[in-house]
């Protein structure tokens, strides 16, 4: 079970004083009422709940800076939060911490299409950025499935992806600049409308740092001209091996599709029952390949891809004839999660990445684990980039099933690392995968990361209890000793 850093009784005792002080910085923006705080007790990973001590909702960079400076002075812990859609518990509250919500900083500040960028506050939703430039034919490429709700600031914290990452990249590859408030309250700017700011790539470091290094108060993102044409191919295969071979052959032929999504038999059946997308019911694996670009390119590449699929034994190949049909092909994939929700009362979504050619082995091992844990699993897979989302089906009300689901999930992630992949492709470590970090990193790897954290946050007050399996005290620089794979500070709590 999950353990969080023990609350500091001295801080808890000062709750009303701290709330009053914060209210002088952010009038009408402090929540300290237990009933109201329930709304902030979890994020998209609802299995874990912990209401924060106080929520503060600043409206400006200056307010964020003053809140952080106050919390530094008073040694109060902080948990940043955007829309609260994290799937790894990144925004899970702490009993003695202030959750700082950025949702009210939700203005788009500048649209500069001549330089192909948008400047926005962190609480703007991912989709709102695309909407703001849609009239001119532009869009923002990363499209996490929560894009209607998730904020761009949260996207930066998690380095969010989506289904088009192979061709268009993750958040990190589409982010030009940020304004960042450091834990002590200092405001810095990294990057801007120009490319590749020199000095250390702190912009790249902060992206995906899960709210542990500072608070993003402004972003500059790159926007792209929307392709003039797009077509989806729906292809059925008798096995995931065959579908995987098709993906490899497409890339081997020099084609980088806009999206390549795979679903296994269980996911196909669930999606089909849910939205009737027209998926082949006899297929053991389904591949959706989307091609975009000028019409001439889409025409040529869709015939090349279809030919490759047939060569490796596709049992059916169907190309979308118009945008409505393309949307229908995608509807089943996009509904995979809610569809899984109809197969069982609860599902637990995993997020490992694997080298793509290991897919058949990984799926076989997942089937064995499924039998061992007596829990069903449906698999959806961002096949182009190797990001695997097994959905473990369980019933939280059945005694022991949640624990079995968690253990099953942990085994899947260990397997991903074992075959050369990683623990998380796009959802983040958060609290969920925190204790698995040593599966991927040795003690030195983790110590190097934690010393870097100290360079930003010497008191360890930003989002403690996330990402790292042990709390870490910032000693003199470079003094986190590692000896025979053990840190030399057994006095620090493991949780």
């Amino acid at each position: 079970m999950l353990t969080l850093p023990a609350p500091d009784a001295a801080i808890l005792a000062r709750r009303s004083e701290i709330a009053s002080a914060l209210a002088t910085i952010v009038p009408d923006g402090v929540i300290a009422d237990d009933r109201a705080l329930v709304a902030y007790e979890s994020d998209g990973l609802t299995a874990y709940r912990q209401a924060p001590m106080i929520v503060v909702l600043p409206r400006s960079t200056e307010e964020v800076s003053r809140v952080l400076a106050y919390c530094t002075r008073e040694q109060v812990r902080l948990v940043p939060r955007g829309a609260g859609t994290s799937l790894s518990g990144g925004a899970l509250g702490l009993a003695d911490a202030v959750t700082i919500g950025l949702a009210r900083m939700n203005r788009i500040l500048e649209i500069d299409l001549d330089n192909r960028c948008v400047v926005a506050q962190p609480g703007v939703t991912n989709l709102a950025i695309s909407h703001a430039v849609r009239g001119s034919g532009f869009y923002y490429a990363p499209d996490p499935s929560s894009q209607i709700a998730c904020t761009i600031g949260g996207n930066v914290a998690e380095n969010s992806g989506g289904v088009h990452c192979l061709k268009y990249g993750l958040t990190a590859n589409n982010l030009l600049g940020i304004e960042l408030v450091l834990p002590g309250g200092e405001i810095i700017r990294l990057g801007g409308k120009h490319l590749d700011a020199e000095g250390y790539d702190l912009l790249g470091l902060v992206t995906g740092s899960e709210g542990m290094l500072g608070i993003v108060t402004e972003v500059t993102v790159r926007v792209l001209k929307a392709p003039t044409a797009a077509r989806a191919l729906l292809m059925g295969f008798a096995s995931s091996e065959a579908a995987g071979a098709a993906v490899g052959a497409v890339i081997g032929a020099g084609i980088i599709p806009a999206g390549m999504e795979m679903m296994d038999g269980k996911a196909i059946a669930a999606a089909e029952a849910f939205v009737s997308a027209g998926y082949p019911s006899d297929a053991e694996a389904l591949l959706i390949v989307e091609l975009d670009g000028p019409p001439e390119e889409v025409d040529e590449l869709s015939s090349r891809v279809a030919e490759i699929a047939r060569q490796v034994g596709a049992t059916s190949v169907k190309a979308s004839r118009d945008d409505a049909e393309r949307a229908r092909f995608w509807a089943g994939r996009k509904a995979a999660f809610p569809a899984a929700g109809r197969l069982a009362p609860d599902y637990y979504c995993m997020d490992g990445t694997i080298p793509r050619h290991r897919l058949p082995l990984v799926l076989a091992r997942i089937r064995e684990l499924s039998a061992h844990y007596r829990l069903e699993v449906a698999n959806v897979f961002h096949a182009g980039d190797g990001n695997l989302h097994p959905l473990i089906l369980y019933d939280a009300n059945a005694p022991g099933e949640l624990v079995r689901a968690e253990e099953f999930g942990a085994d899947i992630l260990r397997l991903c690392v074992e075959v050369g992949g990683c623990l998380t492709g796009e959802h983040g470590v958060g609290v969920e995968k925190r204790d698995l970090m040593p599966v991927m990193f040795n003690a030195t790897d983790l110590a190097v990361q934690q010393r870097l954290k100290c360079a930003f946050d010497p008191d360890g007050r930003m989002n403690p209890g996330k990402v790292f399996p042990t709390l870490h005290r910032c000693a003199e620089e470079g003094r986190v000793h590692v000896h025979h794979g053990q840190t030399r500070r057994p006095d620090l709590p493991r949780f």
Binding site: G169, H194, E198, I251, I256, C422, E426, V448, E477, G478
Partner: protein, 398 residues
């Protein structure tokens, strides 16, 4: 003193650990092609990584290549081209700029300097193509970050942090890179005779179109004639990809830009030569004055050049990357007035080529505001508390 030349990552770690213990410093080199880039390093010893060479993994269908840091560009490009693939960030070879022969540079050096060429606008920088890294910090500790998969948010992205850090945080031992298919066809549209502001407008129009322009550079008259594009200025726009697609896009783009004059089309082979010249740029710009590289918002590049009046100039990245020969007769190579002109536009100016004496005196890299400089110094100490690795290569203070 003879350079120390480790044969594997364990030896590399032992050398750095010993330096940290006894308090000596190390200058890290690969092929040595960019030794004159950055502040001059005064170190007790040279740490030569050229023996850490070799491609250790290449899976074309997975778009992944892993190589030791000292592997030469030539070795990597040869392996990739045999499978129709490339480093999409198109790293420039700066060797010739510093008087070396081409092809000496290593992948470790390219990444340590975060060098990216004309395709950077569309395909991303070197830092966007590093999937994983194995390195040794200033205490001699071996560590890794990332891995070999495209999508990975497990832990801090140290791969990006080390990219562009000029060897001041850690010595890179091995890198895993995302590679991509090479384009089937390349074509270039050339617009002749545009002034810098007009050329910027034309490049902006091209980059705002849906035609996926993968290179947009403007060569004023001198650069244009050096590139054998005639006696007028040349604004060049590159289209790459599948033959049918390139043909359709080139025709549509030429039509859309008709207001800027008739576009001349450059064939595949000549296009490749031309963009290599733009990438490596040594042959396109004045050799005598100090050379500056400025990155700013694409629409601002020509305004900066107009403000400082360089001896020679050309533009890449749609106008956002400005190469300026400037300040040949000024004690600070024009640094103060260049940076003053740049400040209101945003961006950074780097003194790429100048005598060592000048690079020791004039800030080579854009000076940072106080809070950022202090943070950078703390980051440096977190990796290299004894200041063993490439001391003061980036900033005089660290």
């Amino acid at each position: 003193m003879l350079p120390t030349r480790p044969r594997d990552a364990d030896e590399l770690a032992a050398i750095i650990a010993e330096a940290a213990r006894v308090g000596t410093t190390l200058e890290i080199i690969g092929g040595g092609s960019k030794r004159a880039l950055g502040r001059p390093v005064k170190a007790s010893r040279v740490l030569d990584l050229s023996a850490l060479a070799g491609i250790t993994l290449y899976e074309p269908e997975e778009l992944v290549l892993r190589a030791q840091a000292g592997t030469t560009r030539a070795a990597i490009e040869q392996t990739l081209s045999a499978h129709g693939q490339m480093l999409a960030f198109e790293p420039p070879d700066l060797g010739p700029l510093f008087g070396h022969s081409p092809g000496l540079d290593t992948i470790g050096g390219i990444v340590a300097a975060n060098l990216s060429g004309p395709r950077r606008m569309k395909a991303g920088a070197a830092r966007d193509h590093i999937l994983g890294i194995a390195a040794v910090n200033g205490l001699g500790e071996r560590f890794k970050s990332g891995g070999r998969v495209m999508k990975n948010v497990t832990g801090y992205d140290l791969s990006k942090l080390l990219t562009g850090s000029f060897g001041t945080l850690a010595a890179i031992a091995e890198l895993t890179l995302k590679v991509l298919p090479s384009p089937e066809t390349v074509t270039t549209l050339v617009l002749h005779g545009l002034g810098d502001p007009q050329a910027t407008t034309a490049m902006t129009a091209a980059l705002r179109s849906s035609h996926e322009v993968s290179g947009a550079a403007h060569l004023p008259t001198r650069a244009s004639s050096r590139a054998a594009l005639g006696t007028n200025s040349a604004t060049i726009l590159r289209l790459e990809g599948f033959a049918r697609s390139v043909k359709a896009r080139a025709e549509a783009l030429a039509a859309e830009l008709a207001g800027f004059g008739a576009a001349e089309s450059v064939s595949d082979g000549a296009s490749r030569v031309l963009w290599r010249q733009v990438r490596d740029m040594a042959s396109l710009i004045d050799k005598d004055s100090p050379l500056w590289r400025v990155s700013t918002a694409p629409t601002c590049g020509h305004r900066l050049a107009a403000a400082v009046g360089p001896d020679d100039v050309f533009y890449d990245w749609g106008g956002g990357l400005v190469w300026l020969a400037l300040g040949g007769r000024e004690a600070d190579a024009g640094a103060a007035r260049l940076r003053a002109a740049l400040a209101p536009l945003g961006g950074h100016a780097t003194l790429i080529r100048a005598p060592a004496e000048m690079r020791a005196r004039v800030p080579v890299f854009e000076p940072q505001p106080l809070a950022l400089a202090a943070l950078s110094a703390r980051v440096k100490r977190s990796f290299d508390p004894k200041n063993v690795l490439n001391p003061r290569r980036i900033y005089a203070e660290t």
